[in-house]
């Protein structure tokens, strides 16, 4: 048998193997670092898909539920259920946050029989017009926040909340 490994050969193979392994362990993160922007998905992952189809939207706000997966709050990892009131104004899709600007309750569209076509807060009777503008004389001091909206593949995607731009 001619393929007998000599003591010297064995030594150099072993050293090359371990050396190579160590070098790659050092180089891999560097390479990943360098090409990271390429690996990242292009559209800022902050938009969350909702089950709401754009075609089904009307001028009347509808409630859209969506879930933010794997939100980390300190050590507590959870899925956060969220809602938005979504309607169409002409061709633009508008999504408003349901969080009352007074003390943070959840508002409902047409939640009060005596004030239809307004958002109503059941806690202290705060009211908002369809575009989120607070009705003067009720507790809230500002308009409802708006969600960033994106339409993709016929579905509504919602992003961060921003101050109301319609009022």
């Amino acid at each position: 048998m001619s393929n007998k490994v000599s003591r010297r050969q064995f030594m150099s193979y072993t050293l090359m193997g371990t050396g190579g392994f160590m070098a790659s362990a050092m180089l891999m993160p560097m390479i990943r670092f360098a090409i990271d922007p390429v690996l990242q998905s292009s559209d800022g992952g902050d938009f969350i898909p909702t089950p709401q189809k754009v075609d089904e939207l009307t001028e009347t706000p509808v409630r859209v539920d969506f879930t933010i997966k794997d939100r980390k709050d300190a050590w507590y990892k959870s899925d956060v259920a969220n809602t938005a009131w979504v309607y169409k104004d002409g061709d633009t899709v508008i999504a408003l946050s349901p969080v009352c600007k007074h003390l943070g309750c959840t508002v409902n569209w047409s939640g009060d029989e005596s004030h239809p076509n307004e958002y109503f807060c059941p806690c202290h009777g705060g009211r908002y017009k369809k575009n989120g503008e607070n009705v003067p004389g009720t507790p809230p001091t500002g308009p409802l926040d708006e969600y960033e909206v994106k339409v993709e593949g016929g579905l509504v995607y919602l992003g961060k909340t921003i101050p109301n731009t319609l009022v």
Binding site: D65, T67, A81, H102, L103, G104, T106, P122, C123
Partner: protein, 148 residues
């Protein structure tokens, strides 16, 4: 409002608006054969009260749950609670529980008893619907005291 420093600061400034106290009463069973049921009802109660809090954040203060085991004497427990909770200036106190025993215990405030529903086998959407349905059932109890 939750029982956190941040929400507590808001409460202390807005006392006149936040006039309702929600107290979850949670029974923890320690008998091995009841552990599964006990955890399931604890989960249900936590989901429900958390949801309640997000809906009525600006009017309610949600206390951390009061936990007791099966041999706790509920009448002394409720006496202590009644005395101690009276230190806070809340106009309305609601106790929420899945333990039917509370219906026969005298306590200052209203007891809302709900049968526990096993949520663990449900997907998220169904769970949300169930919790909302449950809330819709107890909602009149709140609006009734708020409107007087």
């Amino acid at each position: 409002m939750n029982w956190t420093t941040k929400d507590m600061d808001t409460y202390l400034q807005q006392k006149e608006y936040i006039d309702t106290l929600i107290v979850p009463l949670l029974k923890v069973e320690t008998k091995p054969e009841l552990l599964k049921n006990s955890s399931s009802s604890s989960e249900f109660l936590m989901y429900l009260t958390t949801f309640l809090e997000t809906q009525f954040k600006g009017r309610m203060m949600l206390m951390p749950p009061f936990i007791y085991t099966q041999s706790t004497n509920l009448s002394t427990f409720s006496e202590t609670l009644t005395v101690d909770l009276a230190d806070m200036p809340f106009k309305h106190i609601f106790f929420i529980t899945t333990d039917a025993q509370w219906l026969s215990v005298e306590i200052k405030g209203q007891v809302i008893w709900l049968p526990s529903i096993p949520l663990e086998s449900m997907d998220e959407k169904l769970r949300q619907t169930i919790i909302e349905d449950q809330l819709r059932q107890v909602l009149p109890r709140f609006t009734e005291v708020w409107s007087t």
